[in-house]
Each structure stands twice: as structure tokens, then as C-alpha cells.
Symmetry: C2
């Protein structure tokens, strides 16, 4: 047994023990030290680098570590074996991908505006937000020798009267505490009820004088990030908003690696625990603390996630999703409750899970499509969700077609050496001076926040600016020289955005040709998907009336730059709308509105799915799109610097 | 810490450790040594006697132990404190009440005939026994790139086709194992389904070639005994029959003492564990072994028990049942499943629980009334269930009234020093020679079985014979002398049925005046209840067309003797019918027939309840009935020896 000490940039330490020869990344995982390994420990991505401070590691040098870096102690943790007591430094960027949980400040949260906008759009589209949860005070005559009605009937009759309903359902779990609750409060209680058509279900019996909040939670479970809203179900008010990394990230950055982990012995439980016990439950706890409510007051949860996230969440074998012919177990899922999954909210809280429509188009897209309101418009709309993958929906009130493309996690900062999620320390926008090649940056966080890395919207800007300034060519290769431009001994160029002296990082924040190449593949995947899908419908890009862009790419996304790099079609900029986390907006609507829940199911049943890999033109389109902006520059007529 | 060794009549030993001063009965309970304490350890019943073989016990002499017995080492375990290492002998009679589990031999089981008779009577009454559980083979096309329907829909469609139904429900727990099961067996599986009106619910997915038995279990949970039938749901055949003592018995012989135990800290769980983990689950295991099936193949369970048993079974506070104004939490209970209670059968097996109609008339009576078919007859019938208490139902197809009387456990051998359940070693019938006063006995068990004690039917015979032979007077006092008749120094008489040399017991099997008095109170409670109930309806005993007697009193019950002692009204003997365990028969019918389930609910809703303690004449009637046969001998005109 050797002692392994993980040291962080803020000076904090975590200690662990490792067996002779144990893999350092595994030790970190076991110890809950977040080290990103998007490639799941295959030495392919180079993100899991740590710096040896003392002791020894058995670790070959890989292509991701230069000789100079190797000499400075840099190692990939995924190929490092512990062979002595060792101290390693884990740079912030190694765990920036899995950022710390963040309770958003509601007043300043731009997203709240977006939810309100979504809600008013949906109302305009005829969706009513009539919440069906309620608290009623129920007072009964205590039983006597002349009135020996059993408790269940007594409560049933009283609720019938209070709610003016014919049918009252009281489940077993409420019955279990009935005798005691009624007698403790002398047959005067508050009931949390759910009103249906002519029916009332009693969800909880509570003391008469407790200030009872009936809450709900909307959750977007992304492959990379999890975002949630805590709602007062009676007033519809947002009580708290928070986001955190998906705890599953240490088992791989993408759904494929997660599924591979999940089919190992005990893996399904491990992945489920990672999202429920390590992600959702702590998120619930923090949000409840912030809103000063008890988690037991969360009586409903609405979840939107992709097909794999949904399968791993409920603990269902996801392997067939990954393996040809790519078959999920379920699209829709009903009658599932918090206690079935071990969610630490009211154990009998119903879970609303946005339905999947295919292995690679899941509930995040059905919920998001709903939130975008494109299903209610006569104009043709394109909905693009830039999550860890890219999904597209095109259509209007008459038809909708969806497809998914393997964009990878680049839009959320994955697969990019300096990439990170759109959170504190992320460069979310940049402009480069064509002459001096000096950048002007916009960094997420408080005044004075130093840069840690670059998030999706920042990378779009950066590549667009490097291209506009002629620093890189259409192939993404560096063609100018300067103080910020470097070439390694293999000739690979890079551009330094922030030198390490000015960064909140032990390394320079720089982007290299591999990063640019990765990002070009990602944006190429999106653009070619748009082309192939429209083509299959005999549409052209000028027939698109609106483009709704959603996802964790960051609200600062510069649509013009996204067009400039050939990510989005070259149509008038005013047609583009950033709608934030539409998956979360959709979950929010489903939480509060039975009509919304029904409509999402309807949308999912009616939406067709185009499997891009079956389309003969897709591969050619994709290859042609992996240029700046495209091999066919006529597709981008408005570009002046191509 | 002292060592306590319990020695049994068969020579076997159980060792335990006890703290200084610990109560011996408590030590026995903790150690799972069955020592009956019907009075729940209050030194009132005298049944928990053990014999000190070595060591010491701090134990006062009580009225239940003679000086001679005290000198021989006899002590009541409930008042004994451990103050040294000690060895005690636990006589069989001390645990006869909680007899060992018994798997009945089906071929010879009289009861099977009774179930068959019940079933044919119910069929004649229009109840169809159309079982709704089925196994269907479902073969699907495996998915392909051209056929990417998710598993859930694939199974749904296939079941729709096989079952010719429009609506298929697949619950979450089936979905969880769907992907793996389908792929392991190449989309060729067996489904256990439940057919409803136009709907099919898939309960289980199984391998295609497994020999699949779909079983059900009917259980009568009595205060003293638990009896069960294991049924092949497809063929309706009884696969096994078994009975055992209710494990709760160590917390008291009657429902009141059980409830008192259940309200102590942790008590509800303790009582629930006693009936589920210690009684039902072992019973299930043994029956399944006997029938060569797996407990997971039990897909449904029907339970009939009294109101308190039902409450303790499902873990609901039973205290209000005991306390004025005697309010149960529930009459009917739906949507409850095996896993909710920790029953070790198929976790999602539905539980059918026969509804209660009052605090002292429970599901055993509603199920039993149903089984008796009295609800379908124009003639007036009296249904009497002699369980640990006595319950009566009187009526016909137009009305039914029920009442309960505190007969106590005497009919099952409780409250009687030599009493035991109707199982091996029980004297179930006896005739006494009027001249010699020598008894001729009929003992339950194989050829050569020696007597352990006397069961209910035996006690009826015994008292009737003692009375007929003039050995006891109408007050139950001994008035003749003889070799078998003794008087202790307080003058209390007793009659020895079997001297210990000839008995499977360390003591003579004898009945004393206290026993006779206890039994007279029990039979008096029944008779006076009949009188008061009929009176309240302006009926007289000669208007009774049939009397159906049910309960664990033993199939050998001699109706003539029961009339002779004034337990039943003096009407023609041919009107009496012993219908066995009607509670179990009712549960059996509910298990197999949805119509039966509905009818029992209907019966329970329509039956009225007479609270005897509210009837002003009841106490006088009761007192008058505590004689042989009655203070008013004109009520028994056909008796020749009164």
C-alpha cells in the first residue's frame, strides 16, 4: 500500500491509499477526486494530465505530453501506475469539466427570464399551467361509539366533501401513518392532494399548522451537466436553480463510454448511483437548504435526459442502445416513483420522464422541442440542441423530423485541451485584433475572475476570430507567426489566449490544431446534419424561418461567428434565437402542467426520426463540412473573409 | 451473563445467555424457544410452567403451582428471574399451542374435500372460477436496422397479438429485466400475464423453455394458527396444504395483548416480523419445497384474517382497534404487493386481503361468510366461526348481521391447562363410561400416538361426558369420587384423562375446574351471542334452518355434545354442518376468482354489525349461559341428562 496525495491548485489536499501498480485514475475515481477522462482512460484525449510533485509513477510518455512537460513531471493519470508514495498536482482544468455544484442567484439568472418566456409562449400556444397539486385542510369529527367509521372512510368522506369530488384514492403509504396522524392532531389535518378528472388522490397527511410547501423539481440530466429548478407547485414560483456536473463523468465523457462501464459487473448500479446518489440527491439537498424547505416536500419530479441517461437513471440495461441495431428498452415510462430509484425526495413522488424517440434522440429533445414551441407554428423551424451530442428537429405544426449527429462533447468544452463548461473561469467570448493578434476576452464570473479555460461559445468565437484574422487557414492550420503562436517539434501550431501568469491555471490557456480539428468535426457534424435532413425533405436552408439554438454552449453564443465557421447555415442572423436549456424548460413545463406532459408524449409519438448513418450522402457532407466554413464556399455567400 | 439451557421432552437442547435478573420468558422469546404465555406474561394463566433441572431461578410460587410441584422444580417462566446458570425443562404442552409447522398429506386431507365442496357450492351459487393468470409464449422478430422499435413496444405489440387485446400494461419491474431477457432468449420468451376486461398486464418475463408454474397462495391468518394452500393457478389444483402456529403468539394469545406489544417502541415492526418473517415466509418455503416450485412462482396471495391480524400484517397502527371507540384504520385494502410487506414470494405479487367490517369482525369472517354460501340462500342460516374468538353471522340472501363475542382462545386449546391445537397428540374426541368413569379417547396422529393434550372438540366431548356421567354438576364442579378424580388442598377438583406414564407428556393430562369454568365462559359467550342477535332481529332459534360451524376446533366436533353442554342451540342435529376452515376456503376462492373477490367486498359492505356490549340483555344472557347446559333448562328440551 502506498499513500497517494492529490494536491489542488487552491492548495487543498486529498489523501488516498493505493496498491502496488494500481492505476492512478482509478485511485482518483475511488477517492472521488474529479479528474476528467473524456476518453474513459484510453490515453486518447490527453485531458487527465497531472503533475508529479514528489515520489514516483510508472508512466510512459504519450503523444499528449511533450518532452519538456514530461521533464516537468506531467503525466497522464490514465497510464500511470502507483509504485511508491506519491504526491501529484491536479490542475483545475482537469476537473473543470465536472465543475462544482452551483446554486444560481435567482435575481440575476438570465435563465429565469428564459423560463418565463417559454412559459408565456406555451400559454400562448394553448398549454394551460393548471397545477393539479394542492393542500387542503381536512377537519373531521373524531370517532365515537356511535360513529365507528374506520379512519380510511372517515378521511375519504371528508376529502370528498372538501374537494367536492366523487372519487378519493388513498394509497397504502398514506394509510400507514393515518391512525397516528389523525389522533395526534385530533382529526384535523392538512392533506396534500392531487386533483384529476373527478378524482382526488391523497398524497400526504400532515399536521394542521405546519407551513406546508408543495414543491416540485424539474431536472435536465445532461451527459455532462445536470441542471435543476425547484418550484413551489402552488404559486408556480421558482425557488431555486442549480447546476452541477453529472457524477457519471468519471466513467467517460460520452454515452458510449458510460454504457460500456455500465455493463461491467455491478456497473449498472454504479452508474445509477453516480447520477442519483452523487449528483441528484446532493443537488436536491443544496437546493432545499437554499430555499428553506425539506426534501420531503418535493412531491413530483420531471426529468428530461437523453435516451442513455434515462436508461442509466432508472437502472435499465443500456447496452442494446449502444450496439447495432441500437434499440432502447423504452420510449415512454410511466408509474415510476422516487423510492423506486432511491431519490431523496418524498418517496412516493411521481417521476415524469420525458419520452425518448430513438436511441440517440431522447427526452431532452422531446422536452426541448416542446419548449421551443415549433410544434405550434406554421413557419418552418429548426431546433438545434448542442449538448454533449448534437440533435436537430425540423418542422412545424404539421410534421417534425429529428436526427442526431455525433458532434461529441466539444460544445460543452469536451475534447478540447483548454475546454470547460460555461461556468466561472470560462472564456465565453473573444475578439482578436487582426493586426496585433491580441485577444480581448469575456470571462464568466465575478469582476477580476481569471481564465481557467474556454467554453463552447468562446471556442466558436476564438476559431471564428483566428480564421477572420487569417491566423488559421480553412483547414484550421496556423499560417501566421507571432508572440502568441507556437509550433511544437512535430509542427503542430497553437495560440495562447492567456499566459499562465495571468490565468487561474498552472498552464497557459491555449488552443492547438488538434483542438481546432476536433471542434471543426463537431461543427461539421451539425452543419452536415442540417443539410442532409433538409435534403431528405426536399427543403433548402433558405426555407428555414427560425432557428432555435439550445444547450449548454453558453448564452453568450455569437450566432454570426457560428455562421462564420460554418456551423450554422448562412441565413439572416435575426432568424437565430438562443433559447437556453430547453430540456430544462420542457421539464419545468411538464412538472407544472398535465397538458404539457400529454403534449410532449404526443410530440414524441408523432416525430419521425432520420438515421443519418443510413443516409448515403451524409459522410460526404460531413467531410465537406470539416473546413472553415465549408469546402463549398458558395454555401456561405454573406461571409466576407472566407 | 448466565447460561440458560432449555431442554425439551425429546431430549433436544437450546442454549442462551441471560443477564443477571433477566426474565426467563423474555430469554425464551429472544431465543425463539416457544413457551406459550396466553396471558402475555402476567402470571395469570399458568401455562408457561417449566421445570428447573439444575441451577437456580428467583421465582415466587404462584397459585398455579402446588407446593408439591414447586418442590419438584416447577416454576412459571414469566415470574422467574435468571440469577445463575440454569437448566430448565420445557414440557411439550408449553409449546403445543404453537405447534410445529405441518405440511398436510394432501391425499388424506379431509380439508381438501371441504375446499372442493365449497368450490362446487360457490359455483352453484353463480361464482365463476375463471382464473385470470396465464402463461403465454411470445415470439418476436429480433430488431434490426430496419426495425428499431424499442423493446417495450415490441413486447407490447407481440402480447397484443398473442392475447388478442387492445391494451397491454408492462410495469417498471418487468421493464427492468426486459433487454437482457429478450436478448438472452433471442426474443422468444414466456410471459406471465393477467387478463382483465380487454386489458392484459405482463407480470413476468421468463425463459422460453422453463417449466413455468403460475402459483397462488391462500392464507388464513388466525390469531393462534396460520393455515395455507398453495395452488396451481392454471389448473386450480391444490399443490400443498400446511399449517403452523402464528409466530406472534409469544407476544400474547389474544389480539389485545398483541396490540399492546405492538405499540411499544419498535413493536409494530416486531409483530409484523413475527407473522411475516417468522411465520409466512418459512411456511412459503416449506410448501414450495414440498410442491417443488420456486417461491418466485407465487404470483398472487389471498389473505383472510381478523381486523387486528390484518392491521399487524400490513404494519398499520392497531392501537385504535383496541381503545374505545374501537376504530380500525381500514376495512378494505387495495394495491398492496408482496414487496410492500417483505413476503418472500414474487415481489410484485398482488395481495388480496379480505375486507374487515368492524374492529372485531374481520376478513376471516367476510371470507368465511362467503365460503359458507349463506348469502345465496333463502333459508335462514347461522354461521359460527370458532377461532380464537367467536364470531357469528345470521341471515340469508336478503340481509346478514354479524357480531363478535369474547369467547377467548378456549376452542383452540387456549386458557385450558391441558389444551392444545387440533394437531398430533391432541385428544379430539372422548367417551366416558358412566360406571367406571374410564375414558375412551381418540387421538390425532399416527397409530400409537400418545396424548399430549386436548383440542377444542375433545374438550367439548370431555365436558359433555363428565356432565352426562354426573361427574360434574351444572356449575362444572366435581361431584363424584374415583381413581381419576382429584381434589387439591383448596378443594379444586380435576379429572385425569391420561396418566403421565401413558402420555407423551411429563405431566398427567387432566382437566380441572378452572379449565371447565374457562370453557363454560367460552361456550356461554357463543350461546348468549346467538340468543341476543336473534332476539334483536325478532327471531327465535327454531327459525334457524342451518348452522354452519367453522374454525380450528377440529373436524371431529360432535355437534350433539356441543348442544348438550349448551354451546349451540337445541335444534335438530341434522341442521348443523362443520365447514372446516371457512376463512381459508374464502381466501382460496378469492385467490382463484375475481368474482369471488368482488362478492366478498359486496358482502362486507352490506353486512350489518351488532355490538353486543351495547345490548342491554347481553350480560344477563351470558351469565345465564355459563352453566351446563344453561340456567334455563327449558331451552334444551331434547337433553335427557340435564
Amino acid at each position: 500500500m502506498y499513500k497517494v496525495t492529490f494536491k489542488f491548485e487552491d492548495g487543498s489536499l486529498v489523501e488516498a491509499f493505493a496498491a502496488e501498480g494500481e492505476n492512478l485514475l482509478e485511485v482518483a475515481r475511488k477517492t472521488n477526486v474529479a479528474i476528467d477522462a473524456p476518453c474513459s482512460g484510453n490515453a486518447a484525449c490527453g485531458k487527465c494530465r497531472v503533475q508529479l510533485l514528489s515520489g514516483e509513477l510508472e508512466a510512459e510518455k504519450t503523444a499528449h505530453i511533450t518532452e519538456e512537460e514530461y521533464a516537468q513531471g506531467w503525466r497522464l493519470s490514465c497510464v500511470s501506475k502507483v509504485i511508491a508514495d506519491v504526491e501529484v498536482m491536479v490542475p483545475d482544468i482537469a476537473s473543470a469539466y465536472k465543475s462544482r455544484m452551483k446554486i444560481a442567484d435567482l435575481d440575476s439568472a438570465k435563465e429565469v427570464e428564459i423560463f418565463e418566456k417559454t412559459e408565456s409562449d406555451l400559454k400562448a400556444a394553448g398549454i394551460s399551467f393548471e397545477n393539479d397539486l394542492e393542500v387542503v385542510r381536512v377537519t373531521m369529527n373524531p370517532p365515537s361509539l356511535d360513529d365507528t367509521m374506520p379512519d380510511m372512510e372517515r378521511v375519504t368522506w371528508a376529502v370528498k366533501e372538501v374537494c367536492q369530488t366523487e372519487q378519493v384514492k388513498i394509497p397504502f403509504y398514506v394509510m400507514k401513518k393515518m391512525a397516528e396522524t389523525l389522533r395526534t392532531y385530533n382529526f384535523d389535518v392538512q392533506c396534500v392532494i392531487r386533483k384529476g378528472s373527478g378524482k382526488v388522490e391523497v398524497l400526504d397527511l400532515c399536521p394542521p399548522k405546519e407551513e406546508l410547501k408543495v414543491c416540485g423539481m424539474a431536472v435536465d440530466i445532461g451527459t455532462t451537466s445536470v441542471a435543476a429548478l425547484l418550484i413551489d407547485m402552488i404559486s408556480g414560483k421558482i425557488l431555486a436553480k442549480a447546476s452541477t456536473g453529472n457524477g457519471q463523468i468519471r466513467y467517460g465523457a460520452d454515452v458510449i463510454n458510460r454504457i460500456i462501464e455500465s455493463v461491467k459487473p455491478g456497473g449498472r448500479k454504479k452508474l445509477q448511483d453516480a447520477v442519483i446518489k452523487e449528483t441528484l440527491n446532493p443537488l436536491v439537498a443544496q437546493m432545499c437548504r437554499a430555499a428553506k424547505i425539506r426534501p420531503q416536500m418535493i412531491y413530483r419530479m420531471a426529468v428530461a435526459g437523453n435516451t442513455t441517461m434515462n436508461h442509466l437513471l432508472v437502472g435499465v440495461d443500456a447496452d442494446p442502445v449502444r450496439m447495432e441495431p441500437y434499440i432502447p428498452t423504452f420510449f415512454e415510462l410511466e408509474n415510476i416513483y422516487a423510492q423506486d430509484l432511491g431519490l431523496s425526495i418524498y418517496p412516493h413522488a411521481r417521476l415524469i420522464i420525458a419520452p425518448n424517440i430513438g436511441s440517440y434522440v431522447g427526452g431532452d429533445i422531446t422536452a426541448g422541442t416542446f419548449a421551443s414551441s415549433i410544434w405550434n407554428k406554421s413557419e418552418m423551424s429548426l431546433f438545434i440542441d448542442l449538448g454533449t451530442n448534437g440533435e436537430l428537429v425540423f418542422g412545424n405544426e404539421e410534421f417534425m423530423m429529428s436526427c442526431a449527429c455525433s458532434a461529441g462533447p466539444a460544445f460543452e468544452g469536451g475534447d478540447i485541451s483548454c475546454g470547460m463548461r460555461a461556468t466561472d473561469g470560462a472564456i465565453e467570448a473573444c475578439v482578436i485584433d487582426k493586426e496585433t493578434m491580441e485577444p480581448a476576452l469575456s470571462i464568466i464570473g465575478d469582476e477580476g475572475q481569471k481564465a481557467v479555460g474556454v467554453c463552447g461559445s468562446g471556442i466558436i468565437d476564438l476559431i471564428s476570430e483566428l480564421f477572420r484574422c487569417g491566423i488559421i487557414n480553412p483547414k484550421g492550420k496556423f499560417v501566421r507567426e507571432g508572440a502568441r503562436i507556437r509550433h511544437d517539434k512535430y509542427g503542430m501550431g497553437s495560440y495562447v489566449l492567456v499566459f499562465k501568469e495571468d490565468a487561474a491555471s498552472v498552464k497557459d490557456v491555449e488552443i492547438n490544431e488538434v483542438d481546432i480539428d476536433n471542434f471543426m468535426r463537431a461543427k461539421g457534424a451539425i452543419f452536415s446534419a442540417v443539410r442532409v435532413m433538409l435534403n431528405s425533405l426536399d427543403f433548402t436552408v433558405d426555407m428555414i424561418d427560425n432557428v432555435y439554438v439550445a444547450g449548454g454552449i453558453g448564452s453568450g453564443i455569437n450566432m454570426e461567428n457560428a455562421v462564420n465557421i460554418g456551423m450554422f447555415p448562412d441565413i439572416p442572423i435575426e432568424k437565430f434565437h438562443y433559447i437556453g436549456n430547453s430540456s430544462l424548460s420542457g421539464a419545468y413545463a411538464m412538472l407544472l402542467s398535465g397538458q404539457a406532459e400529454k403534449k410532449v408524449a404526443e410530440i414524441s409519438r408523432n416525430m419521425t426520426y432520420l438515421e443519418l448513418s443510413n443516409e448515403p450522402t451524409y459522410m460526404d457532407e460531413f467531410v465537406a463540412s470539416c473546413f472553415l466554413p465549408h469546402t463549398d464556399a458558395t454555401l456561405f455567400p454573406s461571409l466576407t473573409f472566407k
